[in-house]
C-alpha cells in the first residue's frame, strides 16, 4: 500500500496552502482533488479583489490561485486530480483512505489528514422556495460556472435572491454579459456582502437592492417565467399580503454557504453547530487525532487570504503531528458573537501566535472585544465597527495567561454604541 505522511483532501486555495506548508515542513505530501484541475472555486472567480491582505494586490481568483500553483509545481508536490475519496478509516498508526479515479480503486495510507473540502451552496429548497420546478433557477456558484468556465449565458432577465458576495458578483457579471438584472433581494435588513461589492456590483450598474424582501414562489411550467416577492418581518418571515410578481427568466440564489464535512462526520469528528465545521484547536486539529481542517470546510470565510493562512496552519501542524497527548480547554463565545475559531486551546501545544477568527452577531459601532479566562479579562481590543459579513482576525499569545487544565476562555463583545 502506498503511504504518505500527510494527505491533503481538496486542491482549492486551502488545500494548496496546506500541501505547500506540509511539504515545506518536511512531510511527504499528497494532494487529492476531485476535479480535473487544481484551484478549486478560484478557477471560476474571474473577478478581482483577492489577495489584498496577503499580497497587497487586487488579484483575480485565477491569479491568486496561480501564485500558489506556481510554487506547488516548483516544489514538485504529488497531486492526483479527478480522484475522489470514497472512504476513510482510522487505523492505529494513521488512516486508510480509499480513492477512486480513472486508474481504478486504491487504498492509500497517511499519518495525518488535512480536510480542505470547501463548502457548498444553500439550495432553493433550503430557503423554502415553492411553486413549480422550472429550469432557470441557479445557485450563484452554478451560474458562475456556466458563465466563467463554460462561456454560457444562463439567463437574460434575472432576479437575484441574497446579497451575499457571490450574488453581488454575479449581478455584475451577468450585467457585463448583457443580461438584465432586475434587482437583488435580501431577506435580512442589512446586506450580507462586503460594502465594496454593493458599491461596485450594484450601484455602478443601477441595480436596485431591496432589503427585508424574499422570494417565496416561482412560476413557469418549463423555464422560469416569474417569481413572487414578499416583504419579510424582523424574523425574516414573509408578511402576508405583501406579495408581488416580478417577471423574469432567471433566479439566481446567493443564500449562504455550508461547509462540506461529510468525510469529517463519517470519521466521527464533532462539528460546531455555529460554524458547521469541525471543532478545532489553535493547530486546527479536529477532535480526531491526526485530522486537521482548514479553509471553508472549517468555517465560511470572506477573504481567501485567511483561507490560505488556515491552510498553512493546518499543513504545518499536520506535518509536525506526532500523536502527542492533548490538554484542551474550551474557547467559548457569548451570544454577541456568531462564532469564533478555534473552539479549543491545547495547552500542550505552542500557542504563542494563536490566530483567532470571529464574527459579530450584529452590526455594531464602537465596541470592545474581550477575552476572559476564568472570569478575569486577559485581552481586549477596540473596534470602530464590527459587521457580521466581515470576519475579524486576531493574533493572541495565549501562552502568557497562566491557563490551566480547568480554565475556560470566553470571548465577548462590549457594545458602546450600535452601528
Amino acid at each position: 500500500m502506498r503511504t504518505w505522511d500527510v494527505l491533503v483532501i481538496g486542491g482549492g486555495p486551502a488545500g494548496l496552502a496546506a500541501a505547500l506548508s506540509a511539504h515545506e515542513n518536511g512531510a511527504r505530501t499528497l494532494l487529492i482533488e476531485r476535479e480535473g484541475k487544481l484551484g478549486g472555486i478560484l478557477k471560476q472567480c474571474v473577478h478581482d479583489g483577492f489577495g489584498l491582505v496577503r499580497f497587497q494586490e487586487k488579484l483575480s481568483g485565477p491569479e491568486y490561485a496561480g501564485k500558489f500553483l506556481d510554487r506547488f509545481r516548483e516544489a514538485g508536490i504529488e497531486a492526483m486530480t479527478l480522484t475522489f475519496v470514497t472512504r476513510i478509516q482510522k487505523t492505529g498508526l494513521g488512516f486508510h483512505v480509499t480513492i477512486v479515479s480513472r486508474s481504478g480503486v486504491e487504498t492509500i495510507g497517511a499519518k495525518a489528514l488535512v480536510l480542505a473540502t470547501g463548502c457548498r451552496e444553500r439550495t432553493a429548497k433550503q430557503v423554502s422556495i415553492h411553486g413549480t420546478r422550472p429550469s432557470g433557477i441557479f445557485t450563484a456558484g452554478t451560474a458562475q460556472h456556466f458563465v466563467n468556465l463554460m462561456g454560457q449565458l444562463p439567463g437574460k432577465k434575472c432576479v437575484i435572491l441574497g446579497s451575499g458576495d457571490i450574488g453581488l458578483i454575479m449581478a455584475r457579471r451577468m450585467t457585463l454579459e448583457g443580461a438584465q438584472v432586475l434587482g437583488v433581494y435580501e431577506a435580512k435588513s442589512t446586506p450580507s456582502g462586503l460594502t465594496r461589492n454593493i458599491h461596485q456590483c450594484l450601484h455602478d450598474f443601477d441595480i436596485p437592492l431591496y432589503l427585508s424582501h424574499t422570494v417565496t414562489r416561482v412560476f413557469g411550467a418549463e423555464r422560469l417565467t416569474g417569481v413572487e416577492i414578499s416583504q419579510v418581518d424582523g424574523n425574516m418571515r414573509p408578511i402576508p399580503g405583501t406579495q408581488q410578481l416580478v417577471e423574469c427568466d432567471t433566479l439566481i440564489l446567493s443564500v449562504g454557504l455550508i461547509p462540506e464535512n461529510e468525510l469529517a462526520e463519517k470519521l466521527g469528528i464533532p462539528l460546531d453547530p455555529k460554524t458547521k465545521g469541525p471543532c478545532c484547536n489553535a493547530q486546527l486539529m479536529t477532535g480526531v487525532d491526526g485530522v486537521f481542517s482548514c479553509g471553508n470546510a472549517l468555517h465560511v470565510n470572506d477573504l481567501v487570504d485567511y483561507v490560505s493562512e488556515s491552510g498553512e496552519t493546518a499543513g504545518r501542524n499536520a506535518a509536525r503531528y506526532s500523536g502527542a497527548p492533548r490538554k484542551e480547554i474550551p474557547i467559548e463565545t457569548s451570544s454577541k458573537l456568531l462564532y469564533a475559531v478555534p473552539q479549543r486551546l491545547d495547552l500542550n501545544a505552542d500557542n504563542k501566535e494563536t490566530v483567532l477568527y470571529f464574527r459579530s452577531r450584529e452590526v455594531l459601532g464602537n465596541c470592545r472585544l474581550t477575552i476572559s479566562a476564568d472570569g478575569r479579562e486577559i485581552f481586549s481590543r477596540k473596534y470602530p465597527f464590527l459587521r457580521p459579513p466581515e470576519m475579524e482576525r486576531l493574533t493572541i499569545d495565549f501562552s502568557s495567561f497562566g491557563l490551566a487544565e480547568n480554565s475556560r476562555i470566553t470571548l465577548d463583545i462590549e457594545v458602546n454604541d450600535h452601528g
Binding site: 476531485r34 480513472r102 480503486v105 457548498r120 415553492h130 452554478t142 463554460m150 454560457q152 449565458l153 418549463e222
Partner: protein, 572 residues
Amino acid sequence: MNIRIINARLEKRFSGAVHAALQDGALVLTGHLDTWAQTVEACAMAAKKYSTIHVVNDIVCNEVRQQTMRLPTLQDTALEGQKPDVLIIGGGISGASIARELSKWKLNILLVEKEADLALQASGRNDGEVHPGIDLKKGSKKHYYVRKGNAMYDQVCKDLDVPFRRVEQYVCFENRWAKPLIALYCLIRKYRDGISDTEIISGEELRRREPNFREDIRFAISNPSSGCVCPYGLTIAYGENAVQNGAQVSLNTAVLDMQVENGKILSVTTNRGTVYPALVINAAGVFAEEIAAMAGDRFFSIHPRRGTNSILDKKAGAYMTSIASVKEITSNKTHSKGGGILHTVHDNLLVGPDAVETWEKENVETRKESVDAVLAKHKQTMPKLSASDVITYFTGVRAPTFEEDFIIEMGRKTENLIHCAGIQSPGLTTAPAVALDIEKMAVEYLKKQRPVEENPDFNPVRHGIPVLRDMDDESRAAMIRENPDYGVIVCRCEEVSKGEILDALRSPISVPTLDGVKKRVRPGMGRCQGGFCSPIVTQIIADYLGVPVSQVRKSSQGSVITYGQTGPEEGV
C-alpha cells in the same frame, strides 16, 4: 342503488343545484355549483363503494377554470400510419408494466406518453411504498390486487434489477384504551381480509426496533410485508424491458383525438401522426376520463387529489429504518391521509404525503403550508424530524374515481378498449398483478380477431445501470479497468460517475436531459441538489448529442438551461 334516495340527499344538501340520473349504466350528476369542494362532496355523496355504476361528474362548477392538458411542442409524423396491435396510452407504472407483460406475446405494441419521460406524473411523485393492505377492506379491487401485487415484488424487482426492500410498516397509537378495538380491527383484516402478516406490537417493542420513535406511542400495528421501491425507477425498468422485448415507446406523444365508429376505435390521432390500433389500453392517469370520453366510453369521473412529500437528508435516513405513522382516533371522516415517514430505498427519509382535493390535474406546485404541515404532523412519530434536514420536496396528483377504487375492465360501449383507470394508492403495489390481468384481457380480445403467439425471445430479465458506489472495491476496480469513465466521479453528493451518466444516455429509453439522467442515475438528488454537477452533466449531454450546450434541456423542450454562448453569437 336507489336514485331517489341519492337525489333526496343531494336536494337536501345543495338545495336543488345538483341532480343525479342513471344513464347508460352510469350515475350522471348535473347541475351548477360554486366550488370544487362542493362538487367533490356531491359526487362522493352519490358514489357507492364497489358499485359497478360509477359517478360521472357533469356538474358545472364556477371555481373550475378551463384547463387544457399540457401538450408537448413536438409535431411530426413519426408514427403516422402505424397499425399497432395494442396502443397503450400512458407511461406511468400502469402503462409500462402492461407493456412489459404484453411483450411476452408476438404483438406490435406501442406505448405513448405525453411527457418527456416515463413516470413524470403520479408514478414519479409518490412515496414508493409497497403496501401490505392493512387499510383495505375485502370487496374492492384495491384489496383484490394488493396482496397479489405485494407478493410479486421480490421476483419482479429481481428480474428488472430494481432495488427493493422489505421493511416493516407501523401504524402507531397513543391511546392505550384503543388497543382492544384495534386488536379486533387487526383480526378482521388478518383473517377475513387476508392481510396475513398483521400483528400488534407493544410500544416497548416498537422502540426496541426504532429507538427514535416517541415515548408516547403505546402500541402499533405491524406489517412486515411492506416494502419500498423507487417508483420511477421501477416504471423505467418495466418500460426498458418492454422495449428490449420488442415494444415501442414514444415519449412526447399526446393523444389528441380518436375516430370511433360502431363501438370501435378506428384511429387515434397524436401530435406525431395518426395510428390505427386493434386495441387501446387507457392507462392515462388523471386524463383517463378524457381518453374514455374520446373513445366514446366515459362512464366514470376522476377527481384529482394532490399530495406533497418531502425528502430528508441521508443523515436523517439513519434515524429509522421502517415506514411509520401515528393514527389519531377521531370521528373526523375527512380524508385524513397524512402519509407517514418512510426510509426510502435510497436511504433518505421521505415524509408525507398529504391529500388535498383539487380540480387542477397537472398543478404540481409545492406549497410551503403543505410541507410544513406534513413535517409537523409526523414529528408526532419521531420528534427528531427536523425541517433543516429537508433537501427537497415534490407534489404529485392522484387520479381517484369517486368510488375510490380502480377500474380494470373492458370498455363498456367501445369494444376494443381496456380501462386501467382510477389508479391511486396502492396503485404502485398492485401494478404487477393488474398488468397480468390486463395482459389476459388484451390477449383474449385479440385472439378473437386473429391468432396470437407467444414471443419465444421474451426475456423477463433487464439489467439496470451498474451502481458503482454500492460495489465492493474489487468489483468497482474491475469495472473501471474496463471503462475508465466509471472512475470519474461527476456527482459528488451521490457519488455518480461519468460512465454511469453515459450509460443512462445510452439506455433503451434514452431521455438525454438533466432530469432524464437524474432519474436514472441520481446526479442532482443529493444535498447540493445539482449545484456542483449540473453544469458538468449538461456538458456531458451536449457532447453525447453533439449539440451546443444551449440545446440541452432540463426536461421538456421549453426548459432551456443556457441561452447561448457569452460573447459573439454561436456559429459566428
